[in-house]
């Protein structure tokens, strides 16, 4: 029989037992590493915000993890109640006046929950409230130097510790400036009901009134300026004409000019003009008389023309009757047209 078949029970038993032992060892190791069998001491604290802290966050003292955060709840006062535990090996560090400090890196390097033991010999009982460093109680304990706060571990941490208050102050200043600017903006937008808002409103009304008045004045001034410009242009043109040495004025005033000669004829020209005017006057009188006579005869002429038209129509009727009468048709000799003797070539037909 094969060895495996012969000792199948033993082989299988060993196979299973070794696996069970491994399994148990693994579970025990997990338990030991995760402190299943150790006693933890639970305490409570409160944070203004849960930012940077979560269940499982390590509580660190001088680089050692001495406990962990268990539970965080937002209470009715909008602050965060926290339950945490301290390992039994570090329970003697939890003395009266101890505080917790949550340090959040402003440059995104994470956060740390530090534990600072109090300067007292009295151990805190399990379930005691431990204040945080930024709470009123915690600040009071720090000011009274009842807490043992070690110097920061490294240069960067120290720098960050100094930078944090600076950043907070800067942040506060920026917030104040921002609020002021917001108020000014609201006042300028007419949304503020404060004194600055009313001042801005009055100023705005005055400015609008002034703008309206100045607008009317400007229109008038503009039209005046336009007229002045026209006058100035005319003056300039007149001045140019006067200044011209070959201009009209010079010619008119020239003593040897034609006008002077023309006018200096002992009133002969004047007399001639007057006689022409007299003849014209007479002609106009005669013309006026003719026109008056025509005006008087116009009804007669109209009646005469009307009778003439009637006579022509009657003559046309008579001629048509004669033409249509069969007795005298052909009784009138047809006129023969006299052809011109010298007929031009072009007047002949081209048949």
């Amino acid at each position: 029989m094969k060895f495996k078949i012969k000792f199948a029970d033993q082989i299988v038993g060993l196979f299973i037992i070794v696996a069970l032992v491994f399994f148990v060892v693994i579970v025990v190791l997990i338990g030991a590493n995760q402190r299943w069998f150790a006693k933890d001491y639970r305490f409570v604290t409160s944070f203004p915000s849960a930012t940077g802290v979560a269940p499982g966050t390590s509580i660190i003292m001088k680089g050692f993890t001495i406990g962990k955060m268990d539970k965080l709840t937002l209470n009715d006062d909008n602050s965060v109640d926290a339950l945490f535990h301290i390992y039994d090996t570090y329970y003697d560090k939890v003395r009266e006046y101890s505080i917790l400090e949550l340090t959040v890196s402003p440059i995104g390097l994470g956060s740390q929950l530090l534990f600072h033991p109090g300067r007292s010999e009295t151990r805190l009982a399990e379930g005691t409230f431990i204040p945080t460093a930024d709470s009123i109680d915690g600040k009071a304990l720090i000011e009274q130097e009842l807490v043992e706060i070690p110097p920061k571990d490294d240069t960067i941490t120290r720098l960050l510790a100094n930078v944090n208050p600076l950043l907070e102050n800067t942040n506060k200043t920026i917030v104040t400036v921002n609020r002021t600017l917001t108020e000014v903006n609201r006042a300028l937008a007419g949304q503020s009901s404060g004194p600055l808002g009313s001042i801005v409103g009055d100023t705005s009304a005055i400015t609008a009134d002034a703008r309206e008045r100045v607008g009317g004045i400007l229109d008038q001034v503009s039209s005046l300026l336009s007229e002045l410009e026209t006058i100035s242009a005319n003056l300039a043109e007149t001045t140019d004409s006067i200044r011209d040495p070959t201009g009209l004025v010079t010619k008119l005033l020239d003593p040897s000019g034609s006008i002077k000669t023309f006018l200096d004829d002992d009133d002969a020209l004047y007399d001639k003009v007057m006689s022409i005017v007299g003849e014209l006057d007479k002609s106009m009188s005669s013309l006026q008389g003719i026109v008056s006579g025509l005006n008087r005869e116009m009804p007669k002429i109209a009646g005469l023309l009307n009778e003439t038209r009637t006579a022509i129509q009657q003559a046309q009727d008579v001629l048509e009757g004669v033409k249509n009468n069969p007795l005298i048709r052909g009784g009138i000799t047809e006129r023969v047209e006299q052809q011109p003797l010298n007929q031009a070539m072009r007047e002949g037909s081209f048949e």
Binding site: A8, V12, F15, A19, F22, F23, I26, V27, L29, Q34
Partner: protein, 258 residues
């Protein structure tokens, strides 16, 4: 077309109901198995020997290789993102929660699933099942239950071994790349490893063991009379087992993470 679809659906439905009934009978007979002192115990021991012990070597080699591969990849990739500490978490999740039970189930399906289906199919063709019934032995309690328990136990035990070898294989590679004391390695590993990880892996192993054994025995008994049906039963056992293993893996993972 519609008639054919309906006929196919009806067949699948009746087959599913038959399979569920078969599974119910297996569970019922399993409950009785431990109250009886019977010859089925020897079958169980031999099944664990063939399915578990004989697969240990290939399982260990796979586990060490995968643990080493994960470590090599992680050691070269994770420091680029400044996340070297994730090495242990990845190792635990991949080895303990996922690949341990999954690869062990694949190995057992390939080795023992086909063997069980073929063996039972051969017994049906040779009318051995009828002989068992004739002498008053319930084939399920004598043939199926020892194989069912054997496969499930082997799956669980092999998964434990896979975890150990996988994590140790990673340690061997760690020694080559950056020598670390075993205490430090194990301390870090154990502080990251939770009971949830171990239980998750073992739950999957239990489910996969049930799937592989039930599918293999069901397919073995589905052979009717021809010897040509035996390899078909083996192929079906492997195919259906793989599909069901992956589906149940997804389901168990969803249940655990939901």
């Amino acid at each position: 077309m519609i008639a054919r679809l309906g006929h196919s659906a009806r067949l699948k439905g009746s087959s599913l109901l038959y399979g569920l009934g078969f599974f119910y009978n297996v569970l019922k007979e399993t409950g009785r198995f431990f109250r009886r002192s019977q010859v089925g115990y020897k079958v169980l021991i031999l099944q664990i020997l063939f399915t578990g012990y004989e697969a240990l070597a290939i399982n260990a080699v796979m586990a060490i290789a995968i643990g080493a591969a994960i470590n090599v990849i992680g050691q070269s990739l994770l420091p680029q993102f400044g996340q070297s500490q994730l090495m242990y978490s990845i190792l635990i999740i991949v080895i303990t929660r996922e690949l341990g039970p999954l690869l062990t189930a694949f190995v057992i399906t390939a080795r023992s699933g086909t063997a069980i289906a073929t063996q039972l199919g051969t017994m049906v063709v040779n009318h051995e099942i009828e002989a068992y019934i004739a002498v008053g032995l319930n084939p399920i309690s004598y043939l199926v239950v020892p194989r069912f328990i054997g496969v499930v136990v082997s799956m669980l035990v092999l998964t434990v071994y896979f975890n150990i070898f996988g994590l140790m294989g990673s340690f061997i590679v760690v020694q080559m790349i950056s020598p670390t004391p075993i205490g430090e390695y194990l301390g870090t590993l154990m502080s990251m490893l939770t009971v949830g990880d171990v239980v998750s892996g073992l739950t999957k192993a239990l489910v996969f063991g049930v799937v592989v054994s039930v599918v293999a025995t069901y397919q073995g008994f589905s052979v009717n009379r021809s010897s040509t049906e035996i390899p078909v039963a083996g192929i079906k056992a492997v195919g259906q087992s793989f599909i069901l293993i992956i589906l149940t893996d997804v389901l168990v993972t969803l249940v655990q993470y939901a």
